[in-house]
Amino acid sequence: MSDTHDWIMEQASLLRDRGETTPRPARDPVNQPQVHTWLEAIGDPNPVYRDTPEATEVHGGPVAPPAMAQVWTMYGLDPHRPADDPLHSMMQVMDEAGFTSVLGTNCDQTYDRYLRPGDHVTVTTRLESVVGPKRTGVGEGYFVTTRSTWRVGDEQVATMLFRVLKYKPGPRSSGPDPSSTVRPARNRDSEFFWEGTAVGELRIQRCNGCGALRHPPGPMCPHCHATDQGHVVSPGRGHVYSYVTHHAPQVPGKQLPLLLAVVELDEGVRMIGELRDGTGSRLEPLSGPDSGAVEIGTPVEVGFERIDDDLTLAVWRVVDGGSA
């Protein structure tokens, strides 16, 4: 959790340091037809926004509704977002960190002056802040605030603070669904292995020509080129040859962090599998190379995790008191 938090804040800091985006011009200058459409949609009868005597008297001609500031620079239906758009980038960071839902919370605009037909505005945006994690009614999340500034030439005409809550929908799910585990591709060369795990046997291919053991298996012995291949059932003892603690990204069917090892069996072949504690329960991996729970050389023995009728995986249990 704190790793994720640190990462979010690090990314936020990088995006904040980038400051303002390159000014992006509005598609069209401020114009009366779009003002009319907006007034109709909002139901605003104010005559100063139309070509009327009141507009001439008060403003020397029609002005645009200030609240339309954002309208002029909206992306439209086929958005081509600039790569440096910090809100979009931050949303991607949050998605990646698992905060996948969004809720708009605040939008505060200030107006420096009225816009008039013919004004051509540009907008810049910068990331103002990322605050969290906060527990909210909808779930745990972060408040992401951006500040946009509209200008005509160098003159600032309006600004907006825009805040969204980016959150993990609650309640927390009860964990990964093992049925989503990635399925092994199998064929006649490898089927014996999976048939073995299904009945609690760890099978190692053995060449019926020269007796060589081999994993992963294949149809032709690389030593004697025999295509007659059998197998032995291994007692499933060995030691950790190398290992990794997988923290990110999510892996289908697995709870993170996930401890994985290349195990060297006493027979000399190597296999990849998940590391478990002595009871076969999930080993709570500790971060860092010096966690002590597992190291290279730690003795392990095989166990079997039945995913469903089609798949049973070999897993590796740390042998009690056996840390090398």
Partner: protein
């Protein structure tokens, strides 16, 4: 070989799009833009091209690219497998085609929306589901959850640390060098954003022992490189950067990212490449002024230095210490910022940097650079180049 290869073909032009996290356009458009830029750089037009080479992973067909650019007849097209391991081999294909007269002007290209589209850093279910031997190979790792590039490299990195006493800080030296070089490269995503070793050490764990700052970026963009005969390139707009050596390599008991079943794990396939590069070019590590080493993950940069003979087995942590692979050091590595700092364009952007070094136009120029070694993706069957300064 009846046809002399070393120096027969040259890079005549390089091109690229901007590097971003969301290009906002199709992969075909990216590759078309980069190719046009490379041809313009060379002073050639699309009608001059008669060969195209890319990665098997590339989503843009040669004929689609040819249509967009209004190219005429093509007489050579070739694709290389094994992900980023293809990068330098695209130039090998092009240079062989040119040296043997199979083609006159070959463009190597690679374009993708790797950040905004399909992201290679995520679990790739399709890789385990392939109905071919690669899919069968992945059956031994994916179902257990070893299914991301970072985790597969971390497994090698942990063993390397165990065997040689390397530390996370040693990996961090690569990240610091890359980001320093990127910080002064306006084309780099991390332009103006150097990091310290402390930044590296405090970045979050992705696949322990790999931290976030050990991992390359995910990027959108495209790169293209024009190859023609050295003789012809000399008369073109940008001159010739000769291909002095180009090699591919896979080693005994080779897998894609999971070569864990050899007596000694590691990346001996890069040794296969390195030995050929030195033999073809008649050069050795001591002749190399700067190197572009494929850096999707930092530990493999250390292992490459060893496989290429810049130092002995297990000596890379000492080799990279004290800024030795930074500008001004004994072997500046990835002066464009690498794939950690500039962009991840599957290694192709590094070839462009090698060309700039030899033209003397890099933003982080190594004074008098005359020989540059470039490598492609590691942990997979791979490739490499030695490019030289003409004349």
């Amino acid at each position: 070989m009846s046809v002399p290869f070393s120096g027969a073909a040259s890079v005549a032009g390089i091109g690229a799009t901007e590097f971003s996290k969301e290009s906002g356009r199709s992969e075909l458009q990216l590759s078309a833009e980069a190719t046009l830029a490379a041809l313009t750089d060379a002073g050639l037009s699309p009608g001059d091209v008669d060969g195209l080479v890319t990665f098997t992973m590339d989503n843009t067909a040669e004929i689609a690219l040819a249509r967009e650019l209004g190219m005429g007849e093509l007489r050579f097209f070739s694709r290389i497998s094994y992900g980023g391991g293809a990068a330098c081999a695209t130039l090998q294909q092009a240079a062989m085609a040119v040296a043997t007269g199979m083609a006159d002007v070959v463009v190597c290209y690679r374009g993708f929306n790797e950040r905004s589209g399909q992201r290679f850093g995520q679990v790739q279910n399709w890789a385990a589901g392939q109905s071919n031997t690669n899919g069968l190979d992945n059956a031994w790792s994916y179902p257990s959850g070893l299914s991301t590039p970072a985790a597969t490299v971390a497994m090698q990195a942990r063993r390397y640390m165990h065997e040689y006493g390397a530390t996370s800080r040693d990996f961090g030296a690569v990240a610091v060098a890359d980001r320093r070089h990127a910080s002064t490269n306006p084309a780099a995503w991390f332009h103006g954003k150097p990091i310290t070793i402390e930044d590296h050490q405090s970045s979050r764990m992705i696949a322990d022992p790999l931290r976030l700052l050990d991992c390359c970026q995910e990027s959108d963009g495209a790169v293209a490189i024009v190859v023609t005969s050295t003789e012809r390139a000399r008369d073109l707009a940008a001159g010739a950067v000769p291909v002095l050596a180009a090699a591919q390599g896979s080693a005994r008991d080779q897998f894609v990212m999971t070569s864990y079943y050899r007596d000694d794990i590691g990346i001996p396939e890069m040794g296969v490449v390195g030995r050929q590069l030195w033999a073809q070019s008649g050069l050795g590590p001591a002749d190399i002024d700067t190197a572009v080493l494929y850096d999707h993950f930092t530990p493999y940069v250390l292992m490459q230095l060893e496989e290429l003979g810049f130092c002995g087995p297990g000596e890379a942590p000492g080799f990279v210490a004290d800024g030795a692979i930074e500008l001004g050091g004994r072997l500046p590595v990835n002066t464009h910022g690498g794939q950690l700092g500039e962009a991840y364009i599957h290694g192709m952007n590094g070839i462009n940097e090698a060309v700039r070094q030899l033209r003397g136009t890099s933003v982080n120029q190594v004074e008098g650079a005359a020989h540059v070694v470039v490598t492609a993706g590691t942990g997979v069957p791979t490739s490499g180049l030695v490019l030289g300064r003409d004349g």
